[in-house]
């Protein structure tokens, strides 16, 4: 390859994504002495992690003394309907408290108990008060802490840079090819190990709590390079997004509102959760609450704008403002609702994907040598449904593990060779939309994709809808080959979106194919035509991989759980 043609950088470890998982991975790789690069599509510190509100789940037992890792493990497995990678769930429950203490030692300031410890709050599906938090802006505290730590330890940051292809030598990942969003110039990033921490896929749905970045890039990069994806049918719809006004539809209303005592009612004033989960009520798991709200609305008992009422106004106004300050401001400024006096209107919004890149529990390594994944981009920990608060702890526990293993691999590896043909191919595909005289507007294509996924691959699913979605996706893929962009390569959002569409179409297809295959209802995957659990499916993961230009779907049995973990699950508390 003509090395001078592209700006080229060389690192031991390349981390794609600068949210909680990517930054935690970077910190760990740096601590191991590796030279580390972090690439992010946005400016540093703007990643989706800042939107996490409620808290970090960790069995610190600061508030409820009886809590311990075993209970956290059991809650996580139950919430995930036992499809979780049990080893990940075990490591996560065991290591989360230490990861939280580390944040504090790096300068994070959590809300405090009267004993001077980190405060913990109740959340859906957690037996004990377990979520370490800072009001309702926990994610911001976490990202700022990690960002400052990483800057101090000295990583190289590539801000507003998008990776468009992983580069491989034989069966090993040796770097990545991308472009600077600002000037549109290409860049080659060589690395001995690559960590993907790019988050989720929610931007393929119209009603979503996710930002523009959530287009499934990392999963698609991994898939394109030959790695396997897993459990893609499990897409979490958060029960409480805003429903009004239209511009904020889908915007997250933190589960902390219910954690702090918020009540859900329908238009008749009934606390309808009594019908669906009388024991846990509002603090049932997200899959159950989302379906319950959806059902209330469908059966004509919804609020004026098609949601449910969520009410915290019975709590003292000052308490609400202190514990839920951003919710207070969000509703006051964007919806003209004072949540200390009146109820909010809320409804389900696409929020999180439990599926992602298939990884080894201990090392976070994917099925492709040299490639690791952590956070939402990776699959396994959450099984069929994620508990609130388990995402931030996931980022910390498995971000660290990914950084550790990537640095270890880099330390014993030689730099690989970059294949100029792979670079040339990626560059050509990236520039093609400029060369088409006539063609599809990427924004129009995106809107149509969102309609398909929202209407046909939503909370409740039906075989014929899913089959129709697959046919529609095929048409969209055809239209995508004709996508055209206007303007120059300098900071051109239409061009950026054109690239992101490739990722969204790929991950949407993976979700739809997996959803068709799983003929049962489990966690976030609800099939109207197969409404019950099927024990055979409870022991299978759907695994997606690339076979030429086709998507291949296979079922892989879940590993047998060791006896001591089975015993933990069998205990009743």
């Amino acid at each position: 390859m003509n090395e001078t043609k592209y700006e080229t950088h060389e690192h031991d470890v390349l981390i794609i994504g600068a949210g909680g998982a990517g930054l935690r991975a970077a910190i760990e790789a740096l601590a191991q002495g590796a030279k580390v690069a972090v690439v992010s599509k946005s400016l540093l510190g703007k990643a989706h992690t800042v939107m996490a509100e409620g808290g970090i789940a960790a069995a610190m037992s600061n508030v409820d003394k009886a809590d311990n890792w075993k209970t956290h493990f059991r809650d996580t497995m139950r919430g995930g309907k036992f499809l979780n990678n049990w080893r990940m769930a075990q490591l996560h429950a065991q290591e989360a408290p230490e990861r939280v203490r580390e944040l504090e030692q790096w300068g994070a300031l959590f809300d405090r108990t009267s004993d001077g410890d980190i405060m913990q709050r109740a959340f859906g599906g957690h037996t004990f008060k377990r979520l370490c938090h800072v009001g309702d802006r926990t994610g911001l505290e976490m990202i700022r802490t990690l960002q400052d730590r990483g800057v101090q330890l000295g990583f190289d940051v590539f801000m507003e840079c998008t990776i468009i292809r992983l580069l491989t030598e034989g069966n090993r990942v040796v770097g990545a090819f991308g472009y600077w969003r600002e000037q549109g110039r290409f860049v080659v990033l060589k690395a001995k190990a690559v960590v993907i921490a790019t988050g989720g896929i929610g931007k393929a749905w119209r009603v979503t709590s996710n930002s523009w970045e959530y287009t499934g890039d990392g999963m698609t990069l991994a898939y394109d390079a030959g790695a396997a994806l897993q459990d893609m049918e499990f897409v979490q719809f958060h029960p409480t997004g805003m429903v009004w006004p239209p511009g904020v539809q889908g915007l997250l209303v933190t589960e902390a509102v219910r954690g702090e005592g918020g009540l859900l009612r329908n238009k008749n004033g009934e606390r309808f959760m009594e019908k669906y989960d009388p024991k846990r009520m509002e603090l049932s798991t997200r899959d159950v609450v989302a379906r319950s709200i959806y059902t209330e609305v469908r059966e004509g008992r919804g609020s004026p704008h098609g949601g449910a009422f969520l009410d915290i106004s019975h709590k003292p106004a000052e308490y609400v403002k202190q514990k839920l300050p951003s919710m207070y401001h969000q509703f006051k400024e964007l919806a003209d609702v004072d949540i200390t006096k009146e109820p909010m209107e809320v409804g389900p919004t696409c929020h999180y994907v439990m599926g992602g890149i298939r990884v080894e529990a201990e090392t976070a390594e994917s099925t492709l040598p040299g490639l690791f994944a952590a956070g939402e981009a990776a699959a396994g920990l959450h099984g069929a449904n994620r508990l609130g608060g388990n995402s931030l702890s996931d980022l910390l526990v498995f971000g660290r593990r990914a950084g550790l293993s990537a640095a270890a691999l880099a330390a014993k590896s030689q730099p690989g060779k970059i294949d100029p043909a792979q670079v040339a191919e990626a560059e050509k595909a990236m520039l093609a939309p400029f060369e088409r005289g006539d063609g599809e507007n990427p924004y129009a294509l995106h809107r149509d994709l969102q309609e398909v996924m929202g209407n046909l691959v939503g909370i409740f699913r039906l075989e014929e809808d899913l089959a129709k979605a697959l046919a529609e996706l095929e048409k969209l893929k055809q239209r995508y080959t004709k996508v055209r962009v206007e303007g120059s390569r300098i900071f051109n959002p239409g061009w950026h979106l054109a690239r992101d569409l490739h990722s969204m179409l790929t991950t949407s297809e993976a979700v739809t194919r997996s959803a068709i295959a799983r003929k049962e209802s489990r966690g976030a995957h609800s099939r109207i035509d197969h409404p019950d659990f099927d024990d055979r499916w409870g022991k299978q993961n759907n695994v997606i991989s690339r076979d030429g230009n086709n998507m291949k779907l296979t079922q892989v049995p879940v590993k047998e759980m060791p006896e001591e973990l089975k015993q933990i699950l069998a205990e009743d508390k």
Binding site: L109, S114, V151, W244, P245, S326, L334, P442, V485, G487
Partner: protein
């Protein structure tokens, strides 16, 4: 359907001019919605930064009708309907394209600040009343509107000698952390040029997080600098002890 007219700056580092767009108004619409509508239907290459669209990430800063704002929190119905709404990039930073500016200076300033450094052997206990005031500073979403509006940056372009309100807030969050053992007063005086601030409170006024930047961060920090470097009694004590001021 009701419509609004926006005049959005289009251009790059070499210059540019406002371009008029008409968009349909929906209830509760914010300026960022209008910009997205323009991107989606009229100008796909309109450069805008945004992420969360919920006032939590601080990406979508711009000057709306001349006032520095987060466009995701600026309601269209809060602006006069009888004239076009102007949307321009933050004036204090070089334009890259349209509403996107080069804010890299802020990241360079941040690197100068020594991180949280716990006092040795400290017990990890803190009480809510001790962290309350620091938590106010930790609310900062780094939208850089305070940096943009500060006249030391905006009118006098003292970027090389001055840290700006955002980083005084950051230093305050470290200096007032109950367990921090580092001193950053010399940095404040010398490299961050806190003396340039003459407490006009413009930063506080534009802060979307309602952080009392001037009263709670800058003034207490100025007092620390004065105590350490300009207090005549302490100066005398130091001279006697021959302990050089840091």
């Amino acid at each position: 359907m009701a419509e609004a007219v926006l005049e959005v700056f289009r251009g790059n580092k070499d210059g540019g001019s406002p371009v008029q767009y008409t968009v349909p108004i929906t209830p509760g619409m914010v300026v960022l919605d209008a910009l997205h509508h323009i991107q989606g239907h009229q100008a796909p290459d309109l450069a805008v930064r945004w992420n969360c669209k919920a006032g939590k990430c601080g990406s979508c800063s711009a000057e709306v009708n001349g006032r520095p704002r987060l466009t995701c929190k600026t309601r269209m119905d809060s602006l006069p309907a009888d004239k076009p709404i102007t949307v321009a990039p933050m004036k204090s930073f070089p334009v890259i394209k349209d509403l996107v500016t080069d804010v890299s200076w802020n990241y360079r300033v941040n690197k100068k600040i020594p991180p949280f450094t716990p006092k040795p052997g400290v017990p990890w206990k803190m009480y809510q009343e001790d962290v309350d005031r620091v938590q106010e500073f930790r609310k900062c979403i780094e939208c850089f509107l305070c940096q943009n509006v500060c006249h030391v940056v905006r009118d006098h372009d003292k970027k090389e000698e001055f840290g700006g309100p955002r980083f005084f807030v950051r230093v305050a969050s470290l200096e007032m952390h109950p367990l921090d053992g580092e001193s950053r007063t010399a940095l404040l005086k010398n490299e961050l040029g806190i003396g340039y601030c003459n407490i006009t409170k413009c930063c506080t006024e534009v802060c979307p997080e309602d952080i009392h930047i001037t009263d709670n961060a800058i003034i207490p920090l100025k007092e620390r600098v004065v105590d350490e470097f300009y207090d005549p009694v302490l100066k005398l004590v130091r001279m006697i002890r021959k302990a050089p001021a840091r």
